[in-house]
Amino acid sequence: MRAPTRRSTLLPDMDLDLEQLRHMAVLAELSLGEEEERRLAVEIGHIVAYVAELDAIDTKGVPPTAHVAGIEPAASEEGWREDVVKPGLSHEEALAGAPRAEHEGFAVPGFVE
């Protein structure tokens, strides 16, 4: 990955090389071809260099925003709703979109060698 044009004081090493890109691909469960890896490394390197501008902004004492709405129902007027069992998808409906279903469940390839 090309060295970002802008260096960050916060980050010891911002040069994302091909190895790092491959590590991200493993974490993201993406099997990429070699040429695709090279192209993505360059493109993502450019974007990472751009977003590094955030580093220069003074955020001392500023709390992070994860979410703009109050998502804590306990803090709202109504509180948590009751845990009531309601009808959902049938077993057949839930399995209808599966690429492979066996023994009334989702079938997956082996994961123990």
Partner: protein, 495 residues
């Protein structure tokens, strides 16, 4: 005879026309124009005719019809529709048929709307031009060589070309407002939490919001009033009762204070767009609004903030597409007893993968397009060990600063008025080779998304070449009524 939402619903309710006649007309228009425009990915022909007959039968029985009686509404293909395939613009969901309806779809059905089909979009709503769709780009009916905007490009074009008087889209960083601006339609992003997202394929959950497109402001207000409201199946959906959005249209703007942010008239703004937007502001002032300069100092950091936060959330949300429960599955050939996902050039890591992980990797490689992979990898990077604080947490803090800018501005004004997009519709292919230049085209829509605020794009005077220009009106949270009042006043003044 006008073909807008309010007029059609009125004629069907009064029995001056039938829902069946309206449905057939919409299907005829889609058949005539879609081959060229590529706005619809799926036309639900049998389903919409059946809905129309049921609505007509309901009226024949003397029942009162709903507020969207017989109004054809196109649905962005990110919204789940029971029994009608939902692709989200991606190969990974090309043949997926949801077993349930999104809450907004249920509400439209209950309001007696007609649902003629599913519209094209950037893959997983990631794009600003509709060119990342796995099913080809949508064309802008105002100029076929130009992009319709994105990601809800198909919904915008369905309305702009007169196939349907309204449509639903979703807006994460401008995906309703920007295509509305590019196509000369009205597009609304409601307050974050105003509309349930249950059944919307998730992109960035702290930003995604569903909203309407319509050929006029009042029509958009009526559709929003139908889809808004609390839903137990979306915990981010607010309990706030829906206000009288339609009633706000046509109210007086006298005394309303509008803020003009200098940062939105900066370098990179097309001079014709600036002139058009400033003319609209002058007209609102002449109609009795007070115009005041405001500062949204962190505007220029919105693109960086957004592309850290949205990609982080997307990398997590899109983990569910793994070839197990729904969608595409690709099982790579096994070589020498080991799944070799990448063939001869596979990295050492993939050579040691289990068959299950090789299937994940091959499925996601084949199913996702270039832009989606780019964003998943960027999101994975900003969340990864050693980078989380520097990128993700930092962006969340800058998001707070962007919100505070708006809080301060709304202490002085009732709404903020600015351009929706820095340029009119760009050419198809113009920005596809440079992802960053595509991202920068969202600079004026991202801040309101990050702050969770409602915003509307309404057409103002087109450029000399006849390209539409959008006027963006941003209101404080849950104050959509102010936004509708100003937008409808401008719409009336313009025509």
């Amino acid at each position: 005879m006008t073909d807008d939402v309010i007029a059609i619903a009125g004629r069907v309710q009064r029995g001056e026309t039938t829902a069946l006649a309206v449905a057939e007309q919409a299907l005829g228009r889609i058949d005539a124009a879609n081959a060229e425009l590529n706005a619809f990915l799926t036309v639900a022909r049998d389903e919409v005719l059946e809905q129309a007959r049921a609505i007509d039968a309901k009226r024949a029985r003397g029942e009162v019809l709903g507020p969207l009686a017989g109004v054809p509404i196109a649905l962005k293909d990110a919204l789940c529709t029971r029994g009608v395939r939902t692709t989200c613009g991606s190969k990974i969901l090309e043949h997926w048929v949801p077993p349930y309806d999104a809450t907004v779809v249920t509400k439209l059905r209950q309001a007696d709307a007609l649902l003629p089909g599913k519209t094209n979009m950037d893959e997983f709503a990631m794009g600003s031009s509709n060119e990342s769709s796995a099913f080809g780009p949508v064309k802008n009916p105002r100029d076929l060589s130009r992009a319709p905007g994105g990601s809800s490009g198909g919904s915008a074009v369905a309305v702009a070309s007169g196939m349907t008087p309204a449509a639903l889209g979703s807006d994460t960083g401008g995906s309703i407002r920007q295509p509305a601006s590019f196509t000369g339609t009205v597009g609304v992003k409601p307050t974050y939490g105003r509309v349930s997202r249950f059944g919307l394929v998730a992109f960035a959950s702290s930003l995604d919001q569903i909203g309407p497109f319509a050929s006029d402001v009042r029509g958009a207000a009526r559709v929003l009033s139908v889809i808004a409201g609390k839903d137990d199946r979306d915990m981010t959906c607010l309990a706030a009762p829906a206000a009288d959005f339609e009633g706000a249209c046509g109210a007086s703007v006298k005394g309303l204070r509008i803020g003009v942010p200098e940062e939105y008239f900066a370098k990179g703004l097309d001079p014709e767009v600036e002139a058009s937007v400033r003319a609209a502001i002058a007209r609102l002032e002449a109609d009795g609004c007070t115009v005041k300069k405001v500062h949204l100092a962190h505007t220029r950091h919105a693109v960086a903030t957004y592309y850290v936060l949205a990609t982080a959330e997307a990398s997590s949300n899109l983990a569910r597409f793994d070839g197990v429960r729904y969608g595409l599955r690709v099982e790579p050939e096994r070589r020498g007893g080991v799944a070799g996902a990448g063939g001869a050039g596979a990295s050492p890591a993939s050579a040691q993968k289990s068959a299950l992980r090789a299937m994940y990797g091959a499925t996601r490689d084949a199913g996702f397009g270039a832009e989606v992979k780019r964003r998943i990898l960027l999101g994975t990077f900003v969340l990864s060990a050693g980078y989380y604080d520097a990128y993700y947490l930092k962006a969340q803090k800058v998001r707070t600063l962007i919100r505070r800018d708006f809080d301060a501005a709304f202490g002085e004004v009732d709404a903020i008025v600015c351009p929706t997009s820095p340029t009119p519709a760009f050419l198809l292919g113009e920005k596809t080779s440079d992802p960053l230049s595509m991202y920068l085209s969202d600079v004026y829509t991202l801040p309101a998304s990050l702050a969770g605020l409602p915003a509307i794009s309404v057409p103002c005077a087109p450029t000399a070449a006849g390209l539409p220009v959008g006027l963006q009106i941003i209101a404080p949270a849950l104050h959509e009524t102010t936004m509708f009042t100003l937008a409808s006043a401008w719409e009336a003044a313009r025509s």
